[in-house]
């Protein structure tokens, strides 16, 4: 039982942290430009 008392809050907190991170991403516009995000990794910064 003591294991449960420790593990359940941990599991819930981690889940909540993930949910919070997703909401933050949603608010800060990370989902505004999905095509651009996919293409951006290919931009070569070194090229003039």
């Amino acid at each position: 039982m003591t294991g449960l008392a420790f593990l359940i809050p941990v599991a819930l907190l981690m889940g909540l942290a993930g949910l919070g991170a997703f909401f933050w991403a949603l608010r800060s516009g990370q989902f505004e430009d999905m095509d651009g995000a996919a293409a951006r990794i290919l931009i070569d910064e070194e090229e003039p």
Partner: protein, 723 residues
Amino acid sequence: MAALPKSIAPDLHTTTLVVPGMHCAGCMGKVERGLGALTGVGTARVNLSARQVTVTHDDRLDVPALVAALDGIGFASQPRGEEMAPPPSAVKPLLAPLAVAGFACMNVMLLSVSVWSGAGGATRDLFHWLSAAIGIPAILYSGRVFFASAWSALRHGRTNMDVPISIGVVLATGLSFYEVLTHGTDAWFDGTLMLLLFLLVGRVLDAMMRDRARAGVDALLRQAASGAMVVGRDGALQWLAACELLPGMVIRVGLGERLAADGVICAGRSRFDQSLLTGESAPVPLGMDGPVHAGMLNLDAPVDVRVTAAGADTTLADIARLMEAAGQHRSRYVRIADRASRLYAPAVHTLAALSFAGWLLAGAGLYHALVIAISVLIITCPCALGLAVPVAQVVASGALMRVGVMVKDGGALERIARVDRALIDKTGTLTLGRPVPDPQFVATLPDAEASVALALASHSRHPLSQALAQALAARGVAGAVLEDVVEVPGEGVKALWQGHRVALRRPDGAQARRGMVAAIDIAGQQARVIPFADRLRADHGEALGWLHAMGVRCEILSGDRGQSVIDVACETGLFARAGVSPQGKLDAIASLQRAGHHVLMAGDGLNDGPALAAADASIAPSSASDVGRQAADFVFMGDGLLALPRAVAGARATMRVVRQNFALAIGYNILAVPLAMTGHVTPLLAAVAMSGSSLVVIGNSLRLALPSRWNRAQGEQARGEGA
């Protein structure tokens, strides 16, 4: 490390420019770096989905300077107007409920697994309380999407798929909470949340498809945002959008530009291509006081036009009114998912009520009968049914988009799958809609002359010159070096080549009246006459054969008159009607529909707009008029006509998969409902059955991701029958 901000004056402006030409990472990099290098620019951030760039800059820069800078690196752009702002996304409001349902579902499932594997007593009570604490708020939050839709349907005295979902979810949550309070053995929070999660996935997919297609079509529409150069009293030129033009203004229409308003010519003379308006392919020569209409293309020389009507008063507005009336037929179409739910919802409610009554009559207690009725509701909740249609349609429209056909919404796929007649417009749809030089002439022109011709043609924006330059470049010709190049409007391009006088010009005398021709002069040689014609799309034979093999009878419906329609009819072997007015096209469609046919309209012009809106399904090339693209359900890219049979074949394959999905989902219900009605369903069984049937439906739909399979099979069949 982040770059230090450049020295920027304190008051920053934010400007959003639409850049339709961006389509890859390289373009993004060029635009961002090009703008970032300007003095006075703080940041430049591209949004590729919306094809626009947001720039923060200070007072030293204004919008024309930014447009000029983008022009310098090869991108056409324009400031974004209010009406050009991208439409609100349908996916975004669903993402947060989806995330909450996913989070809650996982955590509650974790707790449920321990209960199923035998946790009892105080531990089970604790887990049930935790499940309730996570589940009830999550269900209330994520379920709003369904509750709101169900409520609005009920308020109007209708029912939809969301009504049984909402009733099931609310009852199951209530019952589970009662179980928790009374230390019961079974709580249904896990099943309820899983149901919401799967249904939300279906909704998100459906919304994603609509967003993606709409973004593509909007990008095309923005590209063609029309307007005109207005000549002020003092002779100054100013660009105004079409909606800002007023009667009485004088606009200058350059070579190769389309008119943005109706008017009369007040200076200059030229020939006009009005195929987009009427379907007629022969250019019309017009001089002083000649009436011109919005949508006509100026072919020869710049002219000044006094605007007589703009906006709602133009010929366009008449066509728009016809279209509005024509679109009503289509809005009566009921989507297949809604048709299914009309049958499904009453069936589910009857079954649940019957089990409740049956168990009461058989002597069970009120509580026991209620538990069984609710488990029937949960087990029949259309989880797989909710995914059956959207998943198949999303996968198919993705596959179609990869072969160059954009689908506007899922309903279009359902409608086009049923067509058995196709009416095809001639100019611009069956043909390319632009002049192409005679291929034989292009192939046989000697190299030296070809390189001179290419160099001359590339100096002009005249449609014939551009077509010639494109054809010669495709042959692999390199342009010669010319000196003293002069373009004389209405005459042609003149230059010096190795000391000889050369010219690409309109032919003289009798030849000039033969429609679309140009002549090329090279000093010391006889002038060559280049014939141009609007040619059939190269793959029309294969495309029409494939349509025929699928049982779709094609006819030509053209606004054009005379010989050119007869020529095309002979070449394609199709029955053709010529000189059909927009109203005539509507009547042709209506008479076929009255005879019980489902009609596909393929057209591009303004004159096709009403017909595109009235037909059961419609498709337009991406080169079509704004009106055509807006009215059509499908827009296809490129010069091929194969998009037509591909769209029909893809839609039919989709409907086959949708029907299989329905069979799978209903088959699952036939197995599960008797179990539920006899009281043998536990939360564990419900969870397994629900996720199992959903996965099967998704897997089945993913088969549509390989368009090559349905493409090739059908294409070979067509070729086999044609041979």
